[in-house]
Structure formats: C-alpha cells, structure tokens
Amino acid sequence: MLVAIATLTGIAATAGFVLTLAARTLENDSDDVVTAIDDLLPQTQCAQCGYPGCRPYAEAIANGDAAINRCPPGGDATIAALAKLLDRDIIALDASLPPPPPPMLALIDEAACIGCARCLPACPVDAIVGAHQYSHTVVEDLCTGCELCIAPCPVDCITMIADERDVA
C-alpha cells in the first residue's frame, strides 16, 4: 500500500517537474499561431477588419485584441476555420462590416486615367503598374479585389468587375 502510494507520488512529482521545466524553457512560439491564423485568411489585404493587412489582423487575433469575425472577404468559411483552429464558437460576421463580396477585380479605364499615380501606393500588393503622366493598369493575376485603389483616384476611373475564375 505505502509502496504503491510512494511510487505514484514519485511518478507524479517527476512528471510535474519535467513538464514545468519544459514549459519554462521551451518557449511558446506565438509566431506559429500567427502564421497558422494568417494561413486561413484570404490575403486580400483589404484592411476592412481595421488592421492594415491580413498578417496584422492575425497578430491581433493571436494577442486576443480582435474577434475572429472581422474578415468580410473570408466570410463564414474563414470564421468557421478560425473557430476550429482556435477552439472557439462559430459566430456571425461582425454586423458593422459589409457582407462578404463575390470575388472581384479592379479595372482601370485606361482612356480616362490621367496618370497621377496616386493609386500605386494605395495597392497593398503592388498590382498596379504605371508611371507619372502615363496610363496605369491593374495586373489581373495579382489583384485581390480589396478596393483600396478606388478612393485615391481623383477621376474615378477605377471600377470593380467580377472575377470570373475560369479555372479549366
């Protein structure tokens, strides 16, 4: 009886000691969490969540500063995936945000473009090419449809078109 109690106490104490040691020395790599969250985000970099891009939003979620329902382009699928990853409840998209948009692309009306180059720095993924005094264009393959280029345009020559996603 006493031997059994002593043995089990010994095992428990050793295990507790080793685990505590491990938790202290092996640092919890929060970067991994951020990357895992970032992997689930749609990478539109649209900043609608209130953070300047997908990774900053992922960092905010990891730090507990932001809710998981602030990504309109990701919609319910992203919320569900985040909920699963972080073991939280699935909630609806934040009501203050616009509803999930269909996949879109920006299109510059090249005839109307005055070449002011103001949309260039606005693009979070450098998908707009052009130079001062020259017409600009959007590289379709790189555009994420974030709409951030629309506001800076002084002549309103940028429109959003549906991304047909014709994957053969």
Binding site: Q43, R55, R165
Partner: protein
C-alpha cells in the same frame, strides 16, 4: 497492316460490361443532313480558349470560310458550315458542361452552299514538312471528335515536344448507344488509314496502333479490306475487349502498352498520343479537298426518335432540325442527352446547336431510368472500389466529400477520377458518386486557385511591408547621420573660433 489479338493486351483494372444499345442506330448508312435555314456557330466549341470573331453582322460568308480565328495555342478556329449572311453575333445558350452560353455567330443560309475559293487541298501530304501539316490542321479547326473536343494541334505539339513513341487511333467507342465512330469506320476506313499516315508524317513516327473494340466486327473487316488495297506495315490493328471504359485515353494506352499515365499527367508523359478515328478522317478530308472541319457524324438514337441512325450534321445545326430529319419525336420521347448515358449531359432544349463535341444525341424514352432511386447510406460493400478503372476508393472519396475534407480528397486521388460513372452503376445504395466527384473536383480547383492567389498576395504584401520598413530605417539613419555630422561640425567650428579668439587675445 498487322493485327494483334486480344490476349496480347494488358488487363484493365475494374471496368464493367455494359449492354450496348447500339443496334438501333448502327444499322443504316450515314445520312447527310440537309443545310438548315439558320446556323448557330458558337465560338466555344472546343476545350480551351474561345475563338475570336472575325466577321461582322451583314457579312456574306462562304462554306469553309474562317469566321472566328484561333485565340492561341490552346484554341481552334471556327468556319462557316455553309454559305449565307451573318445575321447576328450574340450570346446564346450552348450544350456544354462548363459554360451555359457562348458568343455565337448566326448565319442565315442561302441554300447555294458555295465553297470559299481560299480552300487549298494538300495533294501529297507525305512530302510535306511536319510544320506545314501542323499549320494546316491548326487552321482547319480540327479538334478531337471523341467528345472532349480538345484541339488536335495542341495535342500534337505537346506530343512532339515530349518526343513520344506511340500513336494510337481510338476506334473503341465503349459507351452504350454511341455508334458514330463505328459508322465512320465501316464506311470510311480508307480515309481513316490515310489520315493515320498523315499523322505519322506530321509526328515523324514509325508506327501507329488502331484500336477497335471486339464488338465491332464490321469495322474490323472494313479496315482489313481497306488495308488489302493500301497495305502499310506501319499500321497495326489491335482488337480491344468490350469493357467500359476501355476507350478512355489513359485506359486504352494501358491496355496496349501497359504504361500508366501518372497522376495529373498527360499521355505524352508515357510517350503516347491518342486521336479519335474521326479526327484522322477529318485530317484526310482536309488534305483531299481542303475543306476545314465543318461537320461531323452524330449518332441520333433512343426510343424518343422515329428513325435512329448516324447523320452527318454541319456544326451550328439546331438539334430540332436534326430531330426533324430523323423522323421527328415519338410519343415516348422524354429527355435529351448529349454524349453517352454514362458521361453525357442532359440538355434543356432542342434549340441548342450541334457542335464539334456533339458525338451523340439520345432522345430517351421510358427505357432509360430518368429518376433515381432515393439515396441510402453507404454500406461499405466495396463494389465501387472493385469496379473503378483507375483504382480509386470511391467510398472513401465520397466520405471525404461529405465532410468537406479538401486535402483528404487530394490524397485519395480525386483528380485521377475520369468520371466514367461505373461506381454509380454498381452502388447498391444509389449514391450519386460521380456527380459528387465532379462537383468536388471543381471546388478543389477553385480552392487551389484561391489559395495560390492568396499565397501570392501574402508574399507581395510582406515584400511591400519589408520595403517600407527598409525605407523608414534608411531615412532615420540618414537623418541621424546628418544630425551627428551637423553637431560635430558645429563643435569643431566653435573650437576653431575659440582658438582664433585665443590667438587674437595673445596678440
């Protein structure tokens, strides 16, 4: 010409023996359908990019004239199937699995059927360079006539680049009801073999297999007869066992050579190229008359049509015109299917035009079951796995599909599914397996496309951030160094002045 017996072949894993239902359509000769009053020619009749329209409304066009040019390497031009006036260029519904509609060129025919004077036959194709032949095939809009309508030249160029060693002509036609290739082989064996020899010249290959299914003895005899007058040792006949889907491209290659096309790969990866017999006949026609591809043989069959048979139909002919020429509908007509009963698509209207991909039109009667039995739970009997010709595990795939496990689907080889429909047929629980795999394949493609785009966006966003940071650091550094320099200079200045002052006061 030599022949190979069935025993020499490799055995197809899985597959199924199906009732053929070909008798009703294969009895008669091929009948030429009259030119319809109106032709509706979609610019999207082939796999790949849609052709680019080259005519405008009001133009007079001649038979064989190019009305839409090829949009690139993976595309094919469209030609006027008869002479007449272009009356409209607009979006119209088409018979296609992936596209509901396509831009169509509508021609009001004039009944004269005047051929264009630009057509140029190739009198001796065997003396031409491969490049000349490839260019001719390209501009003639020839696509695979087995049903997938893959541009023939794209396939050939791919094969040449991969320096293949085996050319196979596919005369297997394993799906029930369809008999258009059978009819072609029986009546035009000579021109198929002529086309095969042109293909050998164009591809610079030493020999070609011609695969014919064992339930087509007339076609086999027709080839033998044609070979008697026109012997060519480079062509070898191979009798293929009647097992569905032995006529699938990858399956046929395996049967003949034992080579397996790798996951996500092409026949060229195992040194093979497969063309439909109809494609070879179209190439022969092109060199003999200069006429591009403007018509094909269509099997019109089923209990819903009065005179089933094989008809030569010009592209753009409305299906209703085909039905009229085939004696009209019978009372039992229920549904319209394009392609075979296993892989075909149900059409919603008979106003749709016949295209390069329309190998068969089935007007079904009550004999084909139009409603499914209710789906029940999978009982894990494993029949689907036993029958699958690509050795997949349909029941596992189905489970992964139900639980939306994208990566598991990939791991189980979803993309290898050839959508043959065998698993549906044997499933005792009536689970629509093929349908779910088709949907899953599409969804996976979209997911992967989105994932790739997201990955690219992330990279570019991170690079941009890094650049911004670098710039900020550089700015700060230069500011600091300017400050440093400024203060150093200032101190030196003061010291200098002090010294000067001191020396002055010494004086």
């Amino acid at each position: 010409m030599t022949t190979a017996a069935t025993e020499d072949l490799y055995r197809l894993p899985g597959g199924i023996r199906l009732p053929s239902f070909k008798e009703q359509s294969r009895g008669r000769d091929i009948i030429d359908l009259p030119v319809p009053a109106q032709l509706v020619l979609p610019v999207r009749q082939h796999a790949g990019e849609a052709a680019k329209v080259e005519v405008t409304v009001g133009d007079r066009v001649l038979k064989g004239q190019t009305i839409a040019r090829s949009a690139g390497e993976f595309s094919a031009p469209v030609h006027a199937s008869s002479s007449g006036i272009v009356v409209a260029i607009e979006n119209r519904p088409i018979a296609d699995r992936r596209h509901k509609e396509s831009l169509c060129i509508v021609i009001e025919t004039d009944g004269k059927d005047t051929p264009a004077d630009t057509l140029s036959p190739i009198p001796n194709p065997f003396n031409e360079t491969p490049e000349t032949l490839l260019a001719a095939i390209d501009s003639a809009g020839i696509v695979g006539l087995g049903g997938a309508a893959f541009p023939t030249v794209a396939k050939m160029r791919h094969a040449i680049a991969a320096s293949i060693d085996t050319l196979v002509l596919n005369g297997v036609e394993c799906e029930p009801y369809i008999s258009c290739d059978d009819a072609l082989m029986r009546t035009e064996a000579q021109s198929i073999l002529y086309g095969a020899r042109i293909l050998l010249t164009a591809l610079d290959l030493p020999h070609c297999f011609v695969g014919v299914e064992s339930d087509k003895p007339e076609a086999w005899e027709a080839f033998r007869y044609a070979a008697e007058t026109d012997a060519d040792e480079r062509l070898q006949m191979v009798r293929i066992p009647t097992i569905y889907p032995a006529g699938g491209e990858d399956q046929l290659i395996y049967l003949m050579t034992g080579r397996e096309v790798p996951t996500g790969g092409f026949p060229s990866d195992v040194g093979a190229l497969v063309h439909n017999v109809g494609t070879a006949a179209a190439i022969a026609e092109l060199t003999l008359t200069g006429m591009p591809m403007i018509s094909r043989i269509v099997t019109v069959t089923g209990e819903g049509i009065a005179q089933p048979g094989n008809y030569r139909v010009r592209f753009g002919t409305p299906i209703s015109d085909v039905a009229k020429a085939a004696g009209g509908y019978t009372e039992s007509a229920k549904r319209l299917i394009m392609g075979g009963p296993m892989t075909g698509i149900a059409l919603t209207s008979d106003a749709l035009p016949v295209t390069k991909a329309s190998n068969c039109l089935i007007f079904t009667g009550p004999a084909i079951q139009t409603s499914r039995e209710p789906e029940r739970a999978c009982i894990r009997c494993g029949e689907c796995a036993r029958i699958c010709p690509v050795r997949l595990q349909p029941q596992q795939l189905h489970r992964a599909f139900r639980f939306d496990q994208g990566e598991t689907l990939d791991g189980l080889g979803l993309i290898d599914c050839i959508e043959c429909g065998c698993c549906d047929l044997v499933c005792p629980s009536h689970i629509p397996l093929t349908h779910s795999f088709r949907a899953a394949k599409h969804q996976r493609k979209l997911d992967i496309y989105d994932r790739e785009r997201a990955e690219r966006a992330r990279e570019r966003f991170e690079q941009r951030e890094a650049r911004a940071q670098q710039r900020a650091q550089a700015q700060e550094k230069s500011l600091r160094s300017m400050k440093d320099k400024a203060s150093r200079d200032a101190i030196a200045d003061i010291l200098k002045r002090k010294q000067q002052d001191a020396s002055r006061s010494d004086d």
